[in-house]
Structures are given as C-alpha cells and as structure tokens.
Symmetry: C2
Subunit: 177 residues, 2 copies
C-alpha cells in the first residue's frame, strides 16, 4: 500500500465507541487495525519510516497501548526499547513522574538505568489526548539522560489541545481528529 492509501484505510478501520470509558466520551478503538495483518504491517511501517535516518537509539513506549507498537518500531529502526510504565510495575530503581488526569492523578515510571546519557529517544504511544502522560514521559526520558527526538502517536484528538502541554517537543501523529 502507498502511504496515502494506507492512511486512508487505517482511518477507516478505527471504530468509534460511544460512552467509553464513561458517558459522553467517544472512544477511538484501534483494535480493528491490529486485527488486520495488512493494516498492522502498514501502520508499523508508517510509524517507523520517518525515523530511518534519525539515528534513534531507543524507542520509549508508554504503558500499555504504546507497547503494541514499540518493539516493532524499535526493531525496524535498529533501536532498543525502553518501558514507561504505570507506577509499581517496574521492578528496579525508577524515576517517577506524577501528572494530572481528568479526575485525580497518574504516575509514570522509568528504570533509572534505562538510558545512557545523550541517547536519542523516540517516545511512542497510541493516542494523544490531553498530553499529560506524554509530558510525563518526556520528563522521565530527560531525567534519565535521554534526548527526546520526537513524540509519536498513531491517533491525535486535536480538539483536546494536547500539544499545548508538549511545547518544545516535536510531535507527530499519523491520524488526526
């Protein structure tokens, strides 16, 4: 598939689920993309190709849907994979960053020895909404000595203005709403 055709097919496969995870929210369900081998392949290619000449050392994937793309993208780029996990999930010494959610707080963690100083890092997640999680991810990567090359998303909900929380970072999304 060519890029334009692939993007169009990926967009068509995303399914709107009303009132999930709560009333009034329309959830963008990406599972139909994953279940289609050709669309999965095209998505992994599109998420990777832009960085082929970017000398990415590590892909940092955000728990849990970022994990779906992280390893395949890292492998395509000849990079390693670093995990940004919900607090309490990583077993070794961690850096932790708490951020606001719509109701309450979340905390993201990264192993303190996950990165070497100066490593070039691509952060990846499935969805950019309000940007809180991604901002915490960028903070942790920098705290660990990494340099954030870009933060990449499969889907961006532009009406939530997540980019406003990510000023100073280069942001890329494949599909926007």
């Amino acid at each position: 598939m060519h890029e334009k055709e692939a993007l169009s097919a990926i967009r068509e496969a995303i399914r709107d689920i009303a009132d999930f995870p709560k009333p009034g929210v329309v959830f963008k369900d990406i599972t139909p993309i994953l279940a289609n081998a050709a669309l999965l392949h095209a998505t992994l290619n599109l998420l990777s190709e832009r960085y082929r000449k970017s000398r990415i050392d590590q892909v940092a994937a955000i728990d849990a849907r970022g994990f779906l793309f992280g390893a395949a993208v890292a492998d395509r780029l000849g990079a390693g994979l670093v995990l940004l996990r919900k607090q309490g999930k990583l077993p070794y010494h961690t850096y932790d960053k708490t951020y606001e959610l719509e109701y309450g707080e979340g905390t993201l963690s990264m192993h303190q020895d996950a990165l070497s100083k100066g490593q070039r890092v691509l952060i990846i997640d499935d969805l950019l909404a309000t940007g809180g999680t991604a901002a915490a991810a960028a903070h942790l990567v920098e705290q660990g000595g990494g340099q954030v090359v870009e933060i990449e998303f499969l889907v961006e909900l532009t009406f939530l203005n997540g980019r406003n929380r990510l000023t100073g970072y280069s942001i890329r999304s494949l599909i926007t709403y």
Copy 2:
C-alpha cells in the same frame, strides 16, 4: 546471531530482582533484553521463526508485557494481532474470564468480534508462572471461535508448574528456570 548463541545472550541479559513484587519473590526482569537492539531483534526472531509454516491467522497478546512482543511477532508471521486485556480496558462487547491469582482474582477480556470461526491463534506472553492467566487466555480464544495452535512465552518458571493448568495445549518457552 545463531539460535544457541542468541538464547544464551538473552538468558544472560535477564536480571534477577529480589523481593519484587513482594518479599521472597525473585522477579525475572526482561527490560535489559528489550533495551539491547541486537537482543530485541534476536528475541523477536526466535519467538516467530517456529511458526513460519504454521499458518497463524492471529497472534493473541496478553496485557501488558505480551503486548511488547505481539505486534512484531504477528507482523513477522503475516498475522493480525488480538488483545487479551485486563477487564474494563476494551471498549467493545467482550468475553470475560475470571481466574485465580495467588491473592484474589483477575479477569481477562477479549472483544467478542476479535476472531473469526476457525482462525488459528498463537497466544503470547512474556512469562509462564502459575498458568492462570494463560488458561484464561486460551478459554477466551476458544470462546471467540479460535483454535489455539500454541501458547508461547519468553520465560517459563518451571518450578511453579504452570503447564499443569494448561493440559491439552501445546506450550513453548524460549528460556526456562
């Protein structure tokens, strides 16, 4: 890397963390494998190669560390990817299976429309411990109309006898303790 050499390097990279997630438990930390691009690549190859001629239609990955390998393995096999998630995370109609944990219960879910009848499914997770999660996964795949070709793990803790809970299924693990 040849297979034997790769398996040895992967095993060496796994890090023992004492007293995680609770006192007396030694956790097998796979993050050093992921962070090493060559080992990540070798691991994805070793997880996939065995199935090149198995006509796998869907790889079913278990939340959350199974997600790390699922997409890359599915992509190598020309298969789609199905998610087996903790309850409440999948937005559409689900099948749910509750299983015993050491303390309390867990519930795994799969979208009801994730599989077509008769699809050949490879279930993948990072670790086989007591086998409760994997048994629930196999149950869901079959409830959804799939046929479990094999259940594959990166690491198996043989002393926990997880295979006893998975009788009738073909089990494969790359690294055993």
